[in-house]
């Protein structure tokens, strides 16, 4: 119950944040229930009905293979959630571990954080592109690559926050009372970082969507047969003059999702511990 | 006519769209060339009063709900913004509590002083700079020709407050409002800044309105004192008279809570209980829950100002009585 209460406290009086949260729930529902709500198979090819305009029974029209755009959009929600949650989890776990441990064990930290500096010398999409050239196009690899990119920023942010926490009196108190490294890290430091981590997670989720869509568009993201919003845009770009609506729906879905995630992040940041507010990089 | 006449000034803060009174109708006057001290605990409304007089409430959640402020014959609240700004920083100037943050960190102190001069006087930049150096000398800053090009962070707190004073004096104000000018400073620096203000007053003949929570500071500098409690002036008198004979129990409490170092103190007296919160409703005298000599009438009826002497009044049903 306390979880629901804190959700209520964060979003009370923040209309945009609440709207964002509701939209994300809709996307999550679409992702989970895709086989039941999609009227057609997203991969079913229908050469007779190519590039039909939005109408009945194809609500959002059909693409150049005659596949139902509406159904593909619904299945695309799965990819959105998968890529978003996957890369967020990867970035937070690896980046979080590197940042926290680096701040806590300073000698190891000097070494690790220099490594992070080197990775951050590459602009985000460029790093992702280079990594993708080494890997095969697949869902897992896309998640890993985007995860690595945002692990660097996460590491740097958590490094700063852990350093701040280390100077707090309650950590000294824990050390004095004989707590071990593990206990200090997991029972005293980590719980204080949960809420900034969640805020960071929502911003990474938003960035990851845009990054994944860009990779798909450049032909270096998900395999082309996967129905993701980015791939749909990439495939239909050459039909933009003949069937401009093909780009409209997946594009709007991406914008709405990224916008919602940013709004949720904003709402969470506003309600956050002021000590860490300046550390989080939002849009 | 007095230089500054404040009548029935009431100020409220907008909290969630509701106006909550903070200053509840206060009246006082400042005569040219004299010093008025306003004393009270934090939250009593003394700072808001000074900001209202200066004209710095605009754009905040705070509104003047009634009353008038007449300065030098002009009703300030009726002036259009442009004419109001012509008074600010010219005939009326203000210095603030935090010298560390009250100067803009990115400009040299000289530029910040000349900005004020150039705003109100039609003189050249070079002349303004001359004037700024003169002002720095006036506030006893050593090496003013060198210091004028310092950035604020290169100066100590006391020096910065001197710069603030120099800036305030830039256009020979008739009234200087000083809101807790020494609170953030070391005790020794405090005394020097207060002495400086007194000397400058003697030299320029300006009036000073000094806001402080510290009765000691007030006693040292003021001609007249007004004590504020919960948005009202509860006692006012010439300083000498007030310190000789305090009529309101709150004023006595304030004095008793100052640690005096040159005599043996057995225990530090504090005023018991707490000030009512902003927006809280209190029937009767606002001080009665904390008052040692409160009687039934105090809880029912808010006392009007009672004259203890021709120049001394207090809002208390039983002024001057000793507590039981």
């Amino acid at each position: 119950m306390s979880f629901l209460h804190s959700v209520r406290d964060i979003f009370r009086g923040r209309a945009m944040g609440t709207a964002g949260l509701i939209w994300l729930c809709v996307i999550l529902f679409a992702a989970l229930a895709a086989p039941w709500i999609a009227p057609f198979d997203p991969l079913d090819i229908d050469p007779v009905n190519r590039l039909t305009e939005p109408g009945w029974p194809h609500l959002f029209g059909t693409d150049h293979y005659g596949r139902d755009t509406f159904s593909r959009c619904i299945y695309g929600a799965r990819m959105t959630m998968l890529i978003g949650l996957g890369s967020v989890a990867f970035a937070l776990v690896t980046g979080g571990a590197v940042g926290m441990l680096s701040a806590y064990f300073t000698r190891l930290g000097n070494f690790l954080m220099r490594g992070i500096d080197v990775l951050m010398a590459f602009p985000a999409l460029l790093l992702a592109l280079v990594l993708m050239t080494l890997l095969e196009r697949s869902v897992v690899n896309t998640i890993i690559v985007i995860g690595i990119v945002y692990a660097t920023t996460t590491a740097r942010i958590l490094f700063g926050m852990t350093l701040k926490l280390k100077r707090e009196v309650f950590i000294d108190a824990a050390v004095c009372s004989g707590a071990g490294h593990g206990s200090i890290l997991f029972r005293h430091i980590l719980p204080n970082l949960i809420s900034p981590l969640l805020v960071q997670a929502s911003f990474i989720f938003a960035f990851a969507q845009l990054q994944a869509a860009a990779l798909d568009f450049l032909g270096l993201g998900l395999p082309p047969e996967v129905p993701s919003w980015g791939n749909m845009l990439s495939e239909s770009r050459i039909y933009v003059t003949r069937a401009p609506w093909l780009l409209l729906y997946p594009g709007l879905l991406i914008i709405l999702s990224v916008f919602s995630m940013n709004m949720v992040g904003d709402a969470m940041r506003d309600s956050m511990d002021p000590r860490f507010k300046d550390d989080i990089a939002g849009v | 006519m007095a230089l500054l006449e404040v009548k029935d000034l009431a100020i409220a803060v907008a909290i969630n769209g509701r106006l909550v009174p903070v200053v509840r109708g206060i009246s006082f006057e400042v005569e040219a060339g004299t010093t008025l001290g306003i004393v009270g605990e934090s939250g009593c409304g003394k700072s808001l009063t000074s900001l209202a007089i200066m004209g710095l409430l605009e754009g905040s959640q705070v509104r003047i709900t009634s009353g008038s402020i007449v300065f030098d014959g002009q009703d300030l609240l009726a002036l259009p913004p442009e004419r109001r700004r012509a008074v600010m920083g010219a005939d009326m100037a203000m210095i603030f509590q935090e010298p560390m943050t009250s100067l803009n960190p990115v400009y040299r102190v000289g530029d910040q002083i000349t900005e004020s001069i150039l705003q109100h006087r039609r003189i050249s930049r070079a002349q303004a700079r001359e004037r700024a150096i003169e002002l720095l000398r006036l506030v006893r800053i050593p090496d003013p020709e060198g210091r004028i090009d310092s950035f604020p962070h290169q100066l100590s707190g006391g020096m910065r407050q001197r710069v603030m004073i120099a800036m305030a004096l830039a256009c020979d104000p008739k009234l200087l409002i000083a809101d807790e000018p020494t609170t953030a400073l070391d005790v020794t620096v405090q005394a020097r800044i207060l002495d400086l203000m007194k000397e400058l007053q003697a030299e320029t003949g300006m009036a000073i309105m000094l806001i402080s929570h510290d009765l000691g500071v007030i006693a040292e500098t003021c001609d007249t004192v007004a004590v504020m409690y919960w948005g009202k002036i509860i006692e006012t008198a010439p300083a000498a008279e007030l310190f000789a004979d305090m009529a309101h129990p709150y004023t006595r409490g304030l004095l008793a809570s100052i640690p005096v170092t040159d005599r043996e103190v057995d225990r530090l007296e504090a005023i018991p209980s707490r000030v009512p919160l902003i927006g809280e409703t209190v029937t009767g005298c606002a001080f009665h829950p904390r008052c040692g000599r409160a009687r039934p009438v105090c809880a029912d009826i808010d006392p009007a100002a009672i004259a203890v002497s021709p120049s001394h009044s207090a809002r208390c049903h039983f002024p001057g009585e000793d507590s039981a």
Binding site: A213, I254 | R85, G89, E115
Partner: protein
């Protein structure tokens, strides 16, 4: 200032060396003989053998690295597999487009981002502010290529006001008028970044507005507009400058996409094309050039930051 700049430049060297190691190793991580990888599919066995010798593939890997680095420091990243010309020439060929695109984009970002951000902050809470900050958030959420495609559709295809793709050099026929080819691309690229600057300017001005020295400035009787510009905006610039490096990274990333959408012959499209063509020498070269550029930009940002804030001492 000069000594500080020099010191900071020196401090970049280790990071740059580490980045160059990554770029070097990159080719070795691709399965197959690096010489064959670098020469591409059409290479003869003789070519491969010759390049193997040149690269010192029979020698320890760190020796290979230093051979490669020695060449790279002289601007020699090898020969493009696709163009059959030196990599540096290929990169230089895209420089004009990319630099002009960056300059135009910067102009958009500044003339759109700063005034709207200032207006939003000075009218905090008004409908202007809500529209501006909501719009900024929306534009920050739009995929660059999607915006680009619709701008092409509307302004090039339907209205026919601007060309839809390509960019002839300003040295070709048409001269500076050819910049119209870059108008839509620069707007596309500017949109999300101007949105970022709007939010940044607004947020930092709102922070500064609460500071005590602003009250001092108002107490001088200054006009509100003067207070907003000379005292609030000037101080807010410090944190805007600090975040500018971040904007620039985003700009580089999005330039890659934008140049692809508008088929611009710039460095960004070169990266993507080279990756798709498996033209590894070019990939290595471009990446290293961009990393250097990005680090220099960050240094300039830091210097600007120190210049804007007298409290930061250059020691």
């Amino acid at each position: 200032m000069l000594a500080y700049t020099f010191k900071r430049l020196l401090a970049l060297v280790p990071t740059l060396l580490a980045a160059s190691v990554l770029v070097f190793l990159f080719v070795h991580l691709i399965p197959g003989d690096p010489a064959a990888v670098l020469l591409g599919d059409s290479a003869t066995p003789e070519d491969v053998a010759r390049l193997s010798r040149e690269m010192g593939l029979d020698r320890p890997i760190y020796v290979q690295y230093f051979i490669w680095l020695g060449h790279a420091l002289q601007g020699d990243f090898g020969t493009s597999v696709f163009f059959r010309t030196p990599v540096m020439d290929v990169i230089a060929g895209g420089a004009e487009t990319s630099i002009l695109l960056a300059v135009l984009t910067m102009i958009w970002i500044i003339i759109l981002g700063i005034p709207i951000g200032v207006m939003s902050a000075t009218r905090h809470g008004s409908w202007v502010d809500q529209l501006a900050s909501g719009g900024a958030m929306l534009f920050a959420s739009v995929p660059t290529f999607w915006l680009g495609l619709y701008l092409i559709l509307i302004f090039a295809v339907w209205l026919g006001w601007f060309p839809s793709s390509g960019f002839p050099s300003i040295h070709e026929e048409g001269g500076l008028l050819n910049l119209r080819y870059l108008l839509l691309p620069s707007l596309t690229l500017a949109a999300p970044n101007a949105a970022l600057i709007i939010r940044l300017v607004r947020a930092s001005m709102l922070d500064v507005q609460r500071e005590d020295h602003v009250r001092t400035a108002r107490a001088k009787g200054l006009h509100p507009a003067r207070v907003a510009i000379k005292h609030v905006f000037r101080n807010a610039l410090i944190s805007v400058a600090a975040a500018f490096g971040f904007t620039f990274a985003a700009l580089i990333s999005e330039a890659v996409v934008t140049e692809t959408v508008f088929s611009l012959p710039g460095v960004g499209q070169l990266v993507v094309q080279s990756i798709l063509r498996r033209d590894y020498p070019v990939i290595q070269g471009v990446i290293l050039v961009i990393v250097c550029l990005y680090m220099v930009i960050n240094l300039i940002v830091d210097l600007a930051y120190a210049w804007l804030d007298p409290r930061v001492s250059l020691k």
